[in-house]
Subunit: 333 residues, 2 copies
């Protein structure tokens, strides 16, 4: 993926952090690439960047409009299309990580071709993958797993990679989702792979490595999510992790958007991931909990992390409030 | 899917039943559609049909060459392409259920267009699917699950549907694989769906139905298969089965093609399917075992079925040797 920088981040109508997840992730982890945001209205989520028109962004040097929304199902809203047309007219390339391809919208494809602009649909696999074999690979692997979608798996994974490197470890972030891929510049969106090849694609993504090397692999979905569990299991088998970190939103009790589905108990979620993960790596272990406690007060968050850690006998952190050092300590111990 | 009949079945170089799985399934369940076979050599698997050249088959009225092989990964061997060209020249349409699309091979696509022939790539989804929601649907559902691939799930499912109908029940076979789809004439190849939509595609495939109606759903893979488990879990969640039947090859102890992976114990396999299936249908239960005992003698098979049934406390049949009546008894009790 070679997306021209810097970026204008398209927030569009997204009202909250979840809706603008991709834009917010790029803004946080790669601030040097982002020169502005485009929002449909002042009620849209604010990334803390200048609001720029397409023309103003182009005049300031923006090269690409990055679609920063992450809607369920990954479809492009019809009323975004004239906006993307205008962005092409203003001189910007387009980059998106939706299931629906911008490049499949004829109007946009033809205009981009005519104007000499690039369209990047990063969620689409650019190669074929083999069926997974479960063959044991050299090197070490950590995978983040979750009680649900959108609980901080990518953030936790990037924070763990950064901390491992700070400790002098050889570590590589392995992106498995659209935002992670735009941050890393490479990776595989495992939720967009043909189903037979999920595990095989992950085996390809995290190949044999030196014994001391850690692949730090971004998790997806949850084994308890009625829509996405297949992706999560294929990813778990293909990653054959030596270590998992459980990610959780401490303020959530139901699967996001599916109120009939309670979140699993954290112990139950760890145990199921270990039981299923042992199929391809019998040495799998859980090294801790990475929680998003943003909806709790400081005192509540501290109490929640302490009691959860004691109950489960594992380090429990919030990567934003406390950092992930205790997880890396447990990993390297 | 409207594939013109009757068929010439392409066995090609496949040496055994597994390799010619699709051809053998169509031959067994839809014999009235099959007028001949095309084999690369006398060592190829024999379906018990006349060996016909493409020209001879066309002269006898064959309308379509159906590619009857089911290789891992679903790729088309390069040396089949001139054969398929010759079939088009002889007047036949082409139908296949591979991951690789015949219609993507330019030589064949152009020739088919020029000659007015049809090419059917039945594994490819012909519509978009939503993300699964886990919403409880009306009507009853049975799903076959397995200790491995290629253990008789499709055969068992079709036999159960036939027996349910013979008992006067309203039942519908729901095809989820290439062979099942060619037999049923409709269905969804769940292993070819984009991974995010596996469960959603199955929800679409088995919609709300009358309370007394049984959808009898073909299973795929195994929760214990390091390559395919993601498909199996998405299918299990999307099917939300009231009943499962465990399919197993009584002569097999290792995952087919992966000697480092032992098959799970049958009890363990049932328990994991029930534990994970309960997420979308807490009333899930196992109604029996459907075993392929072809590699055992009559006496060995009888002893194996009796001891397995007693150990697990469930009816245990071989759908070929004994039929599936005990499973249907348990289902309707």
């Amino acid at each position: 993926v070679t997306i021209r920088q810097p970026y204008l981040l398209f927030v569009g109508p997204a009202r909250d952090f979840h809706g603008a997840k991709t834009a917010a992730g790029i803004r946080y982890w790669r601030p040097e690439r982002c020169i502005g945001q485009w929002r449909s209205s002042p009620q849209s989520f604010d990334l803390g960047l200048p609001d720029l028109s397409f023309e103003a962004a182009a005049a300031r040097g923006a090269a690409t409009l990055v679609i920063g929304l992450a809607p369920v199902g990954g479809a492009i809203a019809p009323d975004w299309i004239p906006l993307f047309e205008a962005a092409l007219d203003a001189g910007l390339d387009l980059a998106a990580g939706m299931h629906q391809r911008i490049g499949d919208i004829e109007l946009l494809r033809l205009k981009a071709t005519r104007l000499g602009r690039q369209i990047h649909d990063v969620r689409q696999p650019t190669r074929a993958f083999p069926v997974g074999t479960g063959r044991k690979r050299r090197g070490k692997r950590l995978l983040t797993v979750g009680t649900d979608c959108a609980v901080g798996k990518m953030y936790s994974t990037l924070a763990i990679e950064r901390k491992l490197r700070a400790r002098g470890c050889n570590a590589t972030f392995r992106a498995t989702g659209q935002t992670g891929l735009m941050i890393a510049g490479e990776g595989v969106c495992v939720d967009a792979i043909v189903a037979d090849f999920i595990a095989g694609a992950v085996e390809w993504l995290t190949p044999d490595a030196d014994e001391g090397h850690w692949d730090v692999i971004e998790g997806q979905g949850s084994l308890f999510h009625p829509g996405y569990a297949g992706v999560s299991l294929g990813l778990l088998h293909g990653a054959q992790p030596d270590a998992i970190v459980l990610c959780h939103d401490a303020g959530r009790s139901r699967i996001d958007g599916l109120p009939d589905y309670p979140l699993p108990d954290l112990r139950e979620c760890i145990d199921l991931n270990l039981a299923l993960g042992a199929r391809t790596n019998p040495a799998i272990r859980c090294v801790g909990i990475s929680a998003n406690t943003a909806r709790l007060s400081d005192a509540e968050a501290e109490a929640w992390m302490r009691s959860t850690g004691e109950r489960l006998g594992l380090p429990c952190v919030d990567p934003v409030r406390t950092g992930v050092a205790p997880l890396v300590d447990a990993l390297l111990s």
